[in-house]
């Protein structure tokens, strides 16, 4: 029982990170109609942006977080304007391949600038707190709190602001959004900005929890897509739920199968969703 609760704590931690990635991925999927394969690498580059801020200005990670989010959001807009925008009107699969190329370009860029070895934000070991039989690192609490805060901000943005509603509308029904006079290009740019910024946050949290590595994001891409599909394409609230479910399932699975196969668990849930309930647990617009 104790073990299960400990795993659930880890699962919610991983789930929060996945949720932040999945919210952006699902909005991009919903608004632009393609699976963005560079999303994991947005996470990674965001984490590295924060690393630079941390090392150059000697700031705590959480202070570097907004900078990393801003830079990654801007980078996402830039990539969209330079590459994706030009091929939006061609076949959607061309976009898919282009995003695959973006993933590699970003990853190799990271290797060129920051090197390929593991890095951490803070050297030295953080002493975990022992609460009864459970262990919890102070960083974990920070991650929970910051992730929850971001989710709340996203929720307020989506439910209260004109742009947030326009974004949901475009993901719901693109043609009607155009007919209504919603400016598609502006909404798309906002979508990239938010998707990129949230991915950066997920990457920073992942880096705080583990370490920084050029493929750190790519390895989470599959669970993120799984969360996206489970939650229903274009459904940000579904993506949050999906992220938590996938995170917990991955951690709990270590009770019965070797930990190395955690990604396979995410994959199995995803395939089961696609086969049995393709619209997701919350009905998506796939």
């Amino acid at each position: 029982m104790i073990e299960i609760i400990q795993l659930l704590i880890n699962g919610i931690l991983l789930g929060s990170i996945l949720a932040l990635g999945a919210v952006g991925a699902t909005m991009i999927f919903g608004v632009l109609r393609f699976a963005h394969f560079a999303h994991g690498d947005f996470m990674a580059i965001g984490a590295y942006f924060a690393l630079t801020v941390v090392t150059v200005f000697n700031l705590p990670v959480l202070a570097a977080l907004p900078v990393a989010m801003l830079l990654t959001g801007g980078l996402a807009i830039l990539i969209d304007q330079v590459v994706y925008r030009r091929i939006r009107r061609v076949q959607p699969v061309i976009l898919l391949i282009a995003s695959f190329a973006t993933a590699l370009v970003l990853r190799s860029f990271i290797q060129m600038v920051w090197g390929s070895s593991n890095q951490v934000y803070q050297v030295g070991i953080q002493l975990p707190w022992r609460i009864g039989p459970f262990t919890l690192k102070p960083d974990h609490l920070l991650i929970f709190a910051a992730a929850a805060g971001l989710v709340l901000i996203v929720h307020l943005f989506l439910s209260r602001t004109r742009m947030g509603k326009a974004m949901r509308a475009m993901s719901d029904n693109m043609d009607l959004a155009l007919v209504t006079g919603i400016p598609a290009n502006r909404v798309i740019m906002w979508t990239w900005a938010i998707g990129g910024a949230l991915a950066a946050a997920a990457g920073v949290f992942l880096g705080m929890d583990t370490r920084l590595h050029p493929v750190m994001g790519w390895t989470l891409l599959l669970p993120i897509f799984a969360a996206t599909i489970l939650g229903g394409i274009g459904r940000p609230y579904g993506a949050i739920l999906g992220g938590l479910v996938i995170g917990c399932a991955m951690e709990l699975s270590t009770l019965v199968i070797p930990g190395a196969y955690k990604p396979a668990v995410a994959f199995a849930i995803m395939v089961a969703t696609l086969v049995f309930r393709p619209q997701g647990i919350i009905k998506g617009n796939a």
Partner: protein
């Protein structure tokens, strides 16, 4: 480089072009002809490479196998082992839309990689399997001929398939699935057949590769080497066109190899890592191709439909 060095390099170069050409042909069968978006090429490549490695290498203590079987048996094993894997993948993903299939196939490739990393009893884990010999005591030169023979065979196979009524149905599915279904074709079956055939070609490429380098390890199957280059080749060459796929393999491998020279010219201090810089260049190149010429060097030429005038 002297003459001998140059020709040795040419042989090395062409061998890899040949192996990639086979995989590009396999991908063309899936994507170019049928419209199936497989980005799990690395997984099928790995199945092929490991199968022949296990079958043909010398017996080893630390793992199952090392059966010391002949080269051709190993390659046949590669292809045969791929069939159930591809069948399973194809069945699971049969009804998925393009983008979901893409996501599913990276998942499968990742799981195959995890399998070979973790199941040391079979794959020797991250240490990999060494000592995979070239057949008939051949050197690189002789082995190149074998590769060329397999490229010719693969090309013949896919070209016959493309012109056959079967290939026409595949294209019809790709271009207009509802109409094809309405014409009474069992779409799922045709798709599955094309998926398995294409995947087996990828496994064949993996098998040939294993004997070429003499060593397999999970490192060789990162998405880049297995998957990305093959996609660049097919898109650059012209998807749907088998000659284009092979031409793409040659051109892209040429570019890929020359990025090594470019990387050599730029001071390392500026680019950090040479291999990363090469990936960066090839990624940017693909973006440029996609933005400026999405139909590739040799666009698809369709064989006329029966009764259609050209």
């Amino acid at each position: 480089m002297d003459m001998a060095g140059l020709s040795a390099y040419a042989v090395f170069f062409l061998s890899l072009v040949g192996i990639y050409a086979i995989m590009a042909l396999g991908l063309n069968m899936q994507w170019g002809m049928t419209g199936q978006f497989n980005i799990g090429i690395a997984g099928f490549f790995a199945v092929g490479a490991y199968t022949t490695a296990i079958l043909t290498s010398a017996p080893a203590e630390s793992r199952v196998g090392g059966f010391d079987l002949p080269f051709l048996v190993g390659l046949a094993g590669s292809v045969i082992a791929c069939i159930p894997v591809a069948w399973l993948v194809g069945r699971i993903t049969a009804r998925l839309r393009t983008d979901y299939l893409a996501i599913a196939t990276i998942g499968i490739a990742e799981i195959i990689r995890l399998f070979f990393v973790n199941e040391s009893w079979l794959s020797n884990g991250t240490r990999g399997i060494p000592g995979i010999e070239k057949p008939f005591g051949l050197g690189n030169n002789g082995y190149l001929l074998i590769i060329i023979a397999f490229v010719a065979l693969a090309w013949l196979l896919v070209e016959i398939a493309r012109r056959s009524p079967w290939g026409r149905v595949l294209r019809a599915i790709r271009d207009n699935e509802p109409a094809t279904a309405a014409a009474g074709k069992d779409i799922a079956r045709f798709r599955l057949q094309a998926f398995i055939t294409g995947s087996c070609l990828m496994a064949l490429g993996g098998g040939l590769y294993a004997h070429f380098v003499g060593f397999v390890s999970p490192e060789a199957f990162r998405p880049l080497y297995g998957t990305f280059l093959v996609w660049v080749m097919l898109i650059a060459g012209g998807s749907g066109n088998n000659l284009g796929a092979m031409l793409g393999a040659l051109v892209v491998w040429l570019i890929w190899s020359s990025t090594e020279m470019i990387a050599g010219l730029v001071p390392t201090a500026l680019i950090g890592s040479e291999s990363a810089f090469r990936v960066f260049l090839i990624g940017v190149l693909l973006q440029i191709i996609l933005v400026s010429r999405p139909q590739g060097l040799l666009p698809e030429k369709r064989p006329p439909m029966p009764g259609e005038k050209r």
